[in-house]
């Protein structure tokens, strides 16, 4: 893949993302036309009060609901896809998804305990984040106890930790009050952006910007990590250090994303494959493409989720229904040259 073709792909995807973002802001129960969006935003930027009454209603809808939600969907999509790509690279395995080290099950246990304790939204999100990080810390501690730092042992620890936490979650669901708590847990596990406002967007921004830029910076090193420990070491890399940083970044990204909107399946697995199909396996190219396409995919899914029916469709339903066939198609397309 030459540089020109790569830049063209990035440009087209970015353009699509911008158009989708504009469309997402306009589409909804109160549909807004793009020109009005421009007017509302420009008057906001110029710090002029909005005089027109309908524009004032739009102002509320846009800044309180749609813009935060659009931003959140793009960031979460980018974060989940990016950590999927990074995990796949580091673990040399294209079948790995961001919850390989137990982030999602940890976050679910965190969120479920907040629900059972009857705590509010902010606590639910913080518990989910801490639960996710706790799971990864646990999964990365087991290899240290065994003094075996191979990828296989790390993946096995991830499986052990998520297995344990999944059972813990099952206990919590079992004791939960059916009508309120249980449905809240189940709904949380299917993922949704409906409770999101600017506060959440601000909360995940640091993780998004720091994690994404560090991983973009290390993208070429991820190529080398994907050759395996022996080759990476003989190429002069401090394998444990670089692997540690990339796994920490990817886990922070996943935990932050999951904490605000619940677990969302498929995207972290499918989008990296799409990126590889578009620009090849070289992580210096596929990571930026993964970030943009992840944002695009999540935004489109979320817009469908809130606009298709009068009730909101949980995100994991759509990512599965749309993502799984996409994945099958991708495998069909790339069967010859990606694995």
């Amino acid at each position: 893949m030459n540089k020109g073709a790569y830049l063209r792909t990035v440009f087209i995807l970015s353009l699509l993302l911008c158009c989708s973002a504009l469309a997402a802001v306009c589409i909804g129960r109160l549909s807004v036309n793009p020109l009005d969006v421009y007017q509302v935003i420009s008057s906001k930027l110029a710090k002029q009060p909005v005089i027109d009454e309908t524009l004032e209603a739009m102002d509320t809808v846009l800044f309180k609901i749609r813009i935060p939600r659009t931003l959140a969907a793009m960031m979460v999509g980018a974060m989940l896809s990016l950590s999927g790509a990074v995990y796949q690279g580091v673990f040399k395995n294209p079948l790995v998804s961001p919850d390989i080290l137990g982030v999602s099950s940890g976050a679910s246990v965190g969120a479920a305990s907040a629900i059972l304790f009857g705590l509010g939204m902010v606590e639910r999100q913080s518990f989910a984040f801490l639960g996710g990080i706790f799971a990864v810390v646990l999964a990365t501690t087991i290899p240290k106890l065994l003094k075996n730092y191979s990828n296989l042992v790390l993946v096995l620890s991830g499986i052990i930790v998520s297995g344990f936490l999944t059972s813990l979650l099952a206990i919590m669901k079992f004791v939960a009050e059916e009508q309120t708590e249980l449905s809240a847990i189940v709904f949380w596990q299917m993922g949704s952006f409906s409770p999101i406002d600017m506060k959440e967007v601000v909360a995940i921004s640091p993780a998004f910007f720091i994690g994404t830029s560090l991983l973009m910076g290390l993208s070429w090193r991820i190529n080398i990590l994907s050759f395996g420990e022996v080759e990476a070491k003989t190429l002069g890399m401090n394998v444990r250090q670089i692997r540690g940083i990339t796994i920490a970044c990817a886990s922070f990204l996943t935990a932050s994303a999951v904490s605000i909107c619940g677990t969302i399946g498929w995207i972290g697995l499918v989008i990296p494959h799409l990126a590889r199909l578009l620009v090849g396996s070289d992580h210096t190219k596929m990571i930026p493409v993964t970030v943009i396409s992840g944002a695009l995919f999540m935004l489109v899914i979320d817009t469908i989720a809130r606009a298709l029916l009068t009730v909101e469709i949980p995100l994991s339903i759509l990512t599965g229904v749309i993502g799984a066939p996409c994945y099958a198609w991708l495998l069909y397309r790339q069967r010859a040259n990606v694995f």
């Binding site: 070429w220 190529n223 994907s226 050759f227 003989t234 190429l235 394998v239 040259n337």
Partner: protein
């Protein structure tokens, strides 16, 4: 003298000593073939030299500095390692693969630029496989992959190239081709240390032989002096013959019969 192996021993945790008191040195332009039966620790010895395994006793000095006290990056600018099995998980282009040989001379967040790709191209030319540059690494043959892997080692601009069974999994023609390449690299000044299961390869390459027998004893010397019928037969525990073939002007190692 580039690399000095001083009295090293090795034992895996909880296992008896694999080999002990191994000493030899590697000089510029030298070819050393490590031979011996299965399980005596040929690859482990090579791994110790690559700093992939740490000897339980003794030390390995790279230009006078103890490998144990060196960073992976410092070692990688002088020692390149060509692994036996390369199982790529992703389809990288050959050029993207070879350019990773420049990694030891680059910063952690640096990405390969024009100059690095130029080095990679040059290494491919050195191996006469420039035509593979844009091919997917997963789609080339085993022999080509071995050549690409050596090209990556060359991109490291090392003084020593360590190769773990470079002829394994190759057809007969490719085996000879790889041996030729090793000989040529030595002529260009690289030191090459390889492990091999075929004593005839050690004869073909000439240079030195480092043999470990099943008792863990170590024998080192020029291949001409060390390799004899008795030596090979006792090393491998089968009846092996050494014959001088006048037509090609060299000794050949063959099995007597089955």
């Amino acid at each position: 003298m580039i690399l000095e192996v001083n009295n090293i021993s090795f034992a895996y945790a909880g296992a008896p000593t694999l080999f002990s008191n191994i000493s030899f040195s590697v000089k510029q332009g030298q070819i050393i073939s490590i031979i011996g039966p299965n399980g005596v620790g040929k690859t482990t010895l090579l791994n110790c030299m690559a700093n992939l395994a740490a000897p339980t006793e003794g030390e390995i000095l790279l230009e006078g500095k103890d490998l144990k006290r060196m960073k992976a990056q410092e070692i990688a600018v002088k020692i390149a390692f060509v692994p036996q099995f390369i199982i790529p998980s992703f389809a990288y282009e050959v050029l993207s693969y070879v350019v990773t040989g420049c990694a030891p001379r680059m910063g952690t967040f640096e990405k390969p630029k024009q100059e690095h790709y130029a080095i990679a191209q040059q290494s491919l030319e050195q191996m006469k496989i420039s035509h593979l540059a844009q091919k997917y690494y997963t789609q080339i043959s085993g022999g080509e992959r071995q050549q690409v892997s050596i090209a990556r080692a060359l991109a490291q601009r090392p003084k020593i190239i360590l190769m773990d069974e470079p002829t394994a999994h190759l057809d007969y023609g490719n085996q000879i081709k790889v041996l030729k390449i090793i000989k040529k690299l030595a002529a260009e000044g690289y030191a090459a240390v390889i492990t091999t299961h075929n004593p005839d390869h050690a004869l073909l390459l000439g240079g030195e032989v480092a043999a470990i027998n099943s008792n863990g004893q170590f024998i080192f010397g020029s291949s001409r002096e060390v390799i004899s019928e008795e030596f090979l037969s006792s090393l491998y525990g089968v009846d092996l013959r050494l014959h001088h073939i006048p037509g090609i002007g060299r000794d050949v190692c063959v099995a007597a019969s089955l």
